[in-house]
Point group: T
Chain length 145, copies 12
């Protein structure tokens, strides 16, 4: 059975506790649970990890190589600042889908620049939890071709 890794960047462990008006009140565990169920329903194994550390995320991405068939990533704040994560994404050769809970085009100027998006296959932004579900669908579509 094919495997998909879902990576959550910094502060996403605080979902449902912080800025509820922006991100909604669903918790990360609930998102992960929904994603796994969705995977099972479609015949895929979905694993999910979160880290506040850029270096840990780099290492997780590196390790995805060979272990997973696709990567769905919400790099959160690191979208705009981390060339290291960009380089890690460039170093693996599985399909990558970048997702965001909020519509980053509606946010601060410094969130308009994305270092990671040019490396991804595509980007899904602004649909809350549904961004993840659509992202996993997109990833499945990529690896089912």
């Amino acid at each position: 059975m094919k495997k998909i890794l879902v990576l959550h960047g910094p502060n996403l462990n605080m979902l449902g506790e912080r800025e509820v008006d922006v991100y909604g009140n669903i918790k990360l565990e609930e998102i992960n649970r929904q994603l796994k169920t969705f995977g099972q329903d479609h015949g895929f194994i979905i694993e999910a990890c979160q880290s506040n550390s850029e270096g840990d995320l780099v290492t997780m991405i590196q390790k995805a190589k060979g272990s997973f068939d696709a990567l769905v990533i919400n790099p959160a704040a690191f979208t705009h600042t981390s060339i290291a994560i960009r380089d890690a994404l460039s170093a693996i050769d599985i399909p990558i889908v970048e997702v965001h809970l909020s519509n980053i085009y509606q946010r601060e100027e410094f969130r308009q620049r994305s270092l990671t998006a040019p490396i991804a296959k595509g980007i899904i932004s602004g649909f809350g939890v549904n961004s993840y579900l659509l992202g996993v669908r997109a990833a499945i579509e990529q690896i089912s071709r």
Copy 2:
């Protein structure tokens, strides 16, 4: 039965005939056919229009108000240049999903600016025809709440 309008911007009528390496060789009629079938399968009426004219697209968007429950739009070149389309999108109060065939983050500098994206609920970019299908899914999710 709820209705979704899918709008295609300039040059999308040339799909499958131009720059096949970038956009694939599927034709617009085929995309529209797939979208309509998808709609039927999920209990929604989907109508699709294309125009090369900014003014016509503005008018189509204005007319969507009251006639449709959601709008999925690929503004193509006008994404980056048309404040008029942005203003038209602001003037209607149904959910809007912006989609792009290619990953605009991988393209020219002048395609990095999006005038329309801040008005949309969310954006889906880079998955070819699948961007439309995911976009319709996202729209359905919005109007099914």
Copy 3:
């Protein structure tokens, strides 16, 4: 009797229906009616047109040459993006007054640039419907000298 053309740019046909907090709830027909009455009261014929199409506005401006004695124009979104309308305005030799319903200095960064204003005799911005009435007054003053 001298004639003044009033041109309304894209989305102004939606006045009173969209973003009522920004533009008020008066409709375009009502504005046109007030302008015509005002013209009659002061001995001028006032005609008014609206279009969502840049090309149509260019053609309307070109045709004003020889048929009208002054032009009052609210280019709306095209203020900031249309060199074609700027060029059309440069090509006629009657007085031009640019008007805006809202104070464009209070709006988005991309609305701060005006391509058309340097071609106009003067600009009136921020007074709602009254911007048009003051604009017609200014035009009358120009052609009554």
Copy 4:
């Protein structure tokens, strides 16, 4: 009877003596006389002051609070450089109309930025003396509602 304060910024005391091709040959006293007559004709008291000093203009604006019902101001050079005048305008709560003799969009790059305009209700620019008369009309319209 309601009162309107008209403030003239730096170098406007030289009107009619300097750069006649840009500003015309009317003197400031004549403008003030016309404004007062116009006020009387419409049932308003109009007072006018001029200063070359940013600090004095700040103080005049502060004092307008409570004494006047509206403010018409031509900040001249300070339009583009004075945050202090902007802050003073923000601190009073009567309608403010900004006027300019020339069309500032036709002038030097450094005159394109306006620090004061976002604080005003609206702006009238480019009609010579008539900018003031239209500005007073706009102010009257504001306080007559």
Copy 5:
């Protein structure tokens, strides 16, 4: 016999009537007549169209595909603002020559950016009517190889 399409952008229908000091007093019909004669003399059919509408120009360019052997275009104002025309030019695979009546390097800052030029084979700018004649020559040279 091979065919060349000559496209004239917005406001070029006003040639000879507007800004005679910049563009000369020759009319568009006269230019088209000269071009056709020139074509006949060299064994090519030349057709010419003008439009003030971006969308119409996009459609004309799309239709050139398969019907014409080369395209000579003066996009006028759209040179600097239209990604839609750029995309249309990218979608056809016949040689494209961009021409301008005036030397665009001598004009306003906002005319320094060209969105269409990188798609053309080459550019000819500044020689008045002769720009068109040289442009047709260049096109002929391309399709005669």
Copy 6:
């Protein structure tokens, strides 16, 4: 007994009367009274002045040389526009502490540049009246070494 001069820039005389949501409803006289009491409690004489005039503030700063042991200044709007005040601050050799009522990092773009801050020993910003009290503490600490 050592002496500290507290200088208040333009519009600070309006404290408690303007933009109460931003600056609170305390008046300048009350701030000065608190500062003087604080000085007395710690064995320092504190004098306070306010001016709306850049030139007067320059002169006050110049005169502080030789008469005061430290300067606490809130240049308000002049923080961002006055090189003259910067030069005056450079010309005296007593410790300078710059204070702001509001957190200038949360305000308009044009308030992000500070011409005076590089000349000060340090900056305290965002704590309302307490910014002044902390500023005087910082100044005392400097001159008590």
Copy 7:
């Protein structure tokens, strides 16, 4: 008894050993000792942590929520580069005071941008160790209201 967390960013563990001319020769332990004594004297518990890792600082900030009543943070180099820390600061709802040993306005261009300051209540910069003491005072003032 209320608790205040003091967070020291990267390289602050080298205080007193590096760039003594810029930062003075006091060691971090000594600063922490002074802060704790200061806290005890005023009836507050002060805890202090340092990390060179952005991710660890994000986690420490997240954990402050519910455990501490205020946060005093010197993000050091991360002030200018870390959106992740900014987001973590946004996610907690206790008062935040940002402090800097040196006056960042006197330093390199790239240290002029602060990502964290707009999230803090206020900023204190340039007073060496005293910046921390003033920062704790400011925090106490916030939580004692």
Copy 8:
């Protein structure tokens, strides 16, 4: 006998007391004395004024019209910030020479922009007191033609 006005801008009254390494230790009175003697030796009356106030300098410049044959001005800090002084200089029609004690090209970025220099006949910068003497020579040369 022809008359030349020498105007000194803000902080020049502190010459010889401030930043001696930059400006030397000569006092303003001594400069003025040298200039007057120089004038007498060459048959010109030289008057000198200094002000820290932008508004006063504007008024002094306005009054020079008709009373003086040439103006030598060191606008100091206002060189870079005052459009009002620029406008005043534009309003008089006598030769203007701008002088600076220090070489402004060796100073801060914000001193590289000169608002007043384009209005002057010429600029002399970097020669200390001698800048004034050379400036008066240049002015004399202008009015002796």
Copy 9:
């Protein structure tokens, strides 16, 4: 018989030997031979020179004054860096045509700026050797009027 000077800038002596994919494999001597033949056929004397030295090109341009009736120049790299050549071109009063082998709009960012083009009558770019032939035609048209 009228004379036309053709000037080739730096590295054009390497034509046919370097970057053949960009510039083609024709050698400079061959271009010059074609140009001279073309001149003879049309009744003009054409002389051609090349230099890698900016100074030599400046001198050649200066000497063209009085000796030649028109100048066709490919300034190559100096197009983008040489104000000296621009000034030399401004100093002669014969028609100037600027030509480029490649389409400079398709090349590096730093080749987008042209210092020389605003001084030329017109520009021809992108047609390989044919750029020169069209350039000579344009020059002939200028001097045959």
Copy 10:
């Protein structure tokens, strides 16, 4: 025997596995082996570490102080984003040599800025593995003086 520390930044542990066309197919262990042999041959002890974590690299650099005589560092992605590493490098007083496998001048715009290079003694970029060997040579030369 003197000791040199070689630090490898993020993703360098993937050498030989990722982007082989850019970085070659040599593995990091092989580079380290070559460096150690080289050190032995020249009488120096060379130790090598790699980390994907910015914080760990900061700590490694801090610890180099006192333990090593020179530092050769390839900060990889952190070259362009890490002020924390720059600050750590500033805090140690041994010679620092910055090396890069690829020529960073040939890469993306965002890799053109180097935060660390101004702190290094010198930079070697573009020679693949040889960059390291040359870097160690340069370091040896520094500490052998």
Copy 11:
């Protein structure tokens, strides 16, 4: 007897022949003659050279070291483009005065940047031939101290 070298940059050999409205109709030989006479009258030997070549000017400046006591240079176009001349000026240790015939602040944007001025003692700009005479005076004053 002390010696002063006067260097004239590119195109100054065309003085009196080109752009007479900008530079006047005096020829370079006449300027040099006046300068030499002026030198003799004041007891200095003045030599003058001109070159269109950046490299030659660099060499002339290098040779001035040891042979001349001061340098007066009008770098003309190279003022804005030549780092090589800047470096040569930095390498000699005699006083340098930069002069310009026209007021460079009144000219094109690209002439606003000066690479050489920060190396000179001072700059004199805008007085035509008199700029040279004032420049020699300034140089004499430097070497007579």
Copy 12:
């Protein structure tokens, strides 16, 4: 025996005489002597040339083609200004190594842009004379593969 050309750009003939604190007191002849000895020791012929003239350097580079196996170049000031040298370097197909005596990242803003570096194989900067020796090593490594 393979041959390497070492090219020195403008002002490097002044080494050891100018700015000794920046460049050291070694003379160019001594560097060349060391390089030649180094070449002999390793079995390569090394020739060295210097010029202050951009054109001469272009020609020298062109001539290296066919005569030398590698090029080591210190373009000095031309690094930042010469597209002509960049183009010449692009036109030869031997390995190129760019070297700099000083660390250009520690110098003026205008020295941060390198036009030549993207054409070189690699860059070595900041090691004084040793930059050349390392550069020759790197070149040898390239041509020995």
